[in-house]
């Protein structure tokens, strides 16, 4: 490097440095996001990692480098607290929520993009995103009122004469999913809208011109070309659902009945364990496991999306 640049005339070297090196705008453009993510993402995460190796002695947090927390958690994976089951429960909940969230949002987006006139897209998108501006907790409490055994839905049904048609929804995993989907839908709709709106209309018309019915044009062109967007939004929904505590505790009642039995969600378990033990290092270690699962989910989603990108050329 040094010898190569030394051989070149000074002026050329200076010019090159100005082009490829550190212009003030470049420093600012890269620096600001870098500082931001270091401060608000990397540093707290690092703190969590470090904390996971610390210990509690005589109700005092003591800095250390010990794997005791992790070993203890490993021992309880399939016994007592049954973390593995809780993780499985959370995975089941988050993946199924992601599936239903995408299943609900994708047709809505298709309706906006392909059925509604172009001049109405912005309005419809605003309406779809509007719930996002109200508080998440407030929305969960509203769902409580709606879904309760004597809540609005059941009372409404009874009032309309369907006394026998009553739903036991509150404090079930279905209620948790409803709360999560309501929370996720605006974001998913925006992501999916961008995907669908970017599909060249000529391609759909070309498919129709070649003899494809509407359904075939969807199946053979729109759906495969939405694949990346579908995977991105699904992994986003799964990750958010996996880490969420509020929907699970306010609507799911903490312990959700599911195909896996009455097992709490992993995130709820972390919360309750911290509340009862106030053992911050051990909770950090648990949280690290949660983060690890999330990273794996993200990697899985990204790998699938990357594969579809290769397919798509």
């Amino acid at each position: 490097m040094v010898s190569a640049s030394a051989r070149r005339p000074l002026a050329a070297g200076v010019l090159e440095a100005a082009n490829s090196g550190f212009s003030p705008m470049k420093v600012l453009g890269i620096g600001i996001p870098l500082v931001y993510s270091l401060t608000f993402f990397a540093a707290p995460l690092l703190f969590l990692v470090v904390l996971g190796f610390w210990l509690v002695e005589n109700f005092q947090v003591v800095p250390a480098f010990s794997l005791e927390n992790y070993l203890d958690i490993a021992q309880h994976m399939f016994a007592q607290s049954n973390y593995a089951l809780a993780i499985a429960q959370s995975l089941w909940l988050s993946l199924s929520t992601a599936f239903f969230a995408v299943l609900l949002c994708y047709p809505m987006v298709l309706a906006i993009v392909y059925v509604a006139p172009r001049s109405r897209h912005r309005l419809l998108l605003m309406l779809a995103v509007a719930p996002f501006w109200s508080s998440y907790v407030l929305r969960l409490f509203s769902w409580q009122i709606l879904l309760a055994n004597k809540g609005i839905i059941n009372s409404g049904l009874a009032w309309a004469g369907f006394e026998n048609l009553q739903f036991n929804l509150l404090y079930t995993q279905i209620a948790t999913r409803i709360g999560l989907i309501h929370y996720l839908a605006p974001i998913l709709i925006v992501v999916l809208y961008v995907t669908a709106a970017n599909i060249d209309r000529d391609l759909i018309q070309a498919a129709r011109d070649l003899g494809a019915t509407r359904w075939q044009a969807f199946r053979r062109v729109i759906l495969p070309m939405s694949r990346t967007g579908l995977l991105v939004s699904a992994s986003f929904a799964a990750i958010v659902s996996f880490g969420d505590v509020l929907a699970g505790s306010l609507l799911g009642g903490g312990v959700g009945n599911s195909v896996l039995g009455s097992v709490p969600l992993f995130s709820t378990m972390i919360m309750t364990e911290y509340a009862s033990s106030t053992n911050l290092p051990r909770t950090s270690a648990l949280a690290m496991i949660l983060v690890l699962v999330m990273v794996l989910m993200l990697a899985g989603g990204a790998a699938l999306a990357e594969r579809s990108k290769v397919d798509a050329g």
């Binding site: 060249d200 129709r208 070649l210």
Partner: protein, 389 residues
């Protein structure tokens, strides 16, 4: 619908359009378009942007509905047939290839929609790919292809389904000039080999003239003229065609005399005579005279002759095979003259030189005012000067 419009066209006609009209709200995109394309004919639709040519093509494809009119394809009324049931195929300006499929799957797309035999599809795709010289690119991704190769895929994808007519919407406009010329002759050869009718939309005059058997000139949603390229070029029927096609000079004036097979017209700058034709316009009527720029000649000042016009040279353009001279008349009108070679050495053309122009009355086309379309929408004269480019 009257009885006449229900009669199916004769069997040698591939596509027949009858009274096609299309309105977008208040805007009239197409009006009373009648067109008949014979089996194996290459027809080019030419016109300025917004003239309705692409809308017309999309109506034939079934991608756009028409406000009124009827469409016949090989004798069958397809007016009400939805797009996917029509045996027309469109080749798109931007190719519209499926980016998520490789070349093979792109070409096979139309064959794999219904029940199909995989081996037969594979064989058919291979065959078509050979025809358009894509044999070794079948496993490539669309993004790995050059513009010309993409256009071949688009054509192969359409041809593989054995359409009854191929519709092409400015298929070469996305290619660079050099490739465009090569693809032109390739396309023409392909069309002749297949004996398939092509309906080809373009705004490019040389493209239309070099490939088409017959050319449609459209303006403001109407057909101005339909005929062989030579006829469109030498015998424009309307003021618009004269302005749009080639490099024409147009003089407006009043008929002052009709005698001996000639009409004499008083124009702003000169008295011009023209061959009167079978039904000469009466004395005193207003006409437009059209003279092709390559029919105009120059001679030394002072020699009296028919159809002579004094003008001052205001500019010249050397294009290689010919020279285009721009001249200004005393009245301020512009005259174009195209010469195959520059002036002789004794008389080098210099700017501001006064010249005497002349041409034969037989080369003067007379246009009557009743076939002059709305003047306010005619393109400016200077927009269409390039002859032979």
């Amino acid at each position: 619908m009257n009885a006449l419009s229900d009669i199916a066209p004769p069997p040698q006609v591939d596509l027949e359009l009858r009274g096609i009209a299309k309105n977008f709200g208040d805007f009239v995109a197409l009006e009373g378009v009648d067109l008949s394309i014979e089996r194996g004919e290459f027809v080019a639709i030419m016109g300025p942007s917004g003239c309705g040519k692409t809308t017309l093509l999309r109506i034939v494809a079934g991608l756009e509905s028409m406000s009124s009119g009827r469409l016949f394809l090989r004798g069958q009324d397809i007016s009400a047939l939805p797009v996917h049931k029509r045996s027309t195929r469109l080749v798109w300006q931007n190719f519209a290839l499926f980016p998520h499929l490789d070349v093979r799957r792109n070409i096979a797309f139309g064959l794999t929609l219904g029940r199909h035999d995989k081996e037969a599809v594979k064989a058919r795709v291979g065959e078509i790919a050979e025809l358009v010289q894509l044999g070794q690119f079948l496993d490539r991704r669309v993004s790995q292809l050059s513009g010309g190769q993409k256009q071949r895929v688009a054509i192969a994808r359409a041809l593989v389904t054995e359409p009854e007519i191929l519709l092409l919407d400015e298929p070469l406009s996305a290619l660079d000039a050099h490739l465009r010329i090569r693809m032109q002759s390739e396309m023409k050869r392909l069309q002749q080999r297949l004996g398939l009718s092509f309906l080809y939309v373009t705004h490019n005059q040389s493209e239309a003239f070099s490939m088409a058997d017959r050319v449609v000139v459209m303006n403001k949603g109407r057909i101005e003229q339909f005929g062989p390229p030579e006829e469109i070029y030498t015998r424009p029927k309307t003021h618009f065609v004269a302005e749009f096609v080639g490099s024409n000079n147009i003089f407006d004036g009043k008929v002052v005399d009709v005698q001996g097979g000639l009409i004499v017209v008083q124009c702003a700058d000169a008295i011009i005579s023209a061959a009167s034709g079978e039904r000469p316009p009466g004395k005193g009527s207003t006409v437009s005279l059209v003279v092709q720029a390559d029919k105009v000649r120059s001679r030394p000042i002072g020699v009296a002759a028919e159809n002579s016009l004094r003008a001052v040279l205001s500019g010249r353009e050397f294009t290689g095979s010919q020279v285009i001279y721009y001249l200004e008349t005393a009245g301020g009108g512009e005259v174009k003259m195209v010469a195959q070679e520059p002036f002789s050495q004794t008389e080098r053309a210099t700017i501001n030189m006064a010249m005497q122009l002349y041409w034969s009355p037989a080369d003067t086309v007379v246009l009557r005012p009743n076939i002059v379309p709305g003047k306010e929408n005619m393109p400016g004269r200077r927009s269409y000067v390039a002859l032979g480019t």
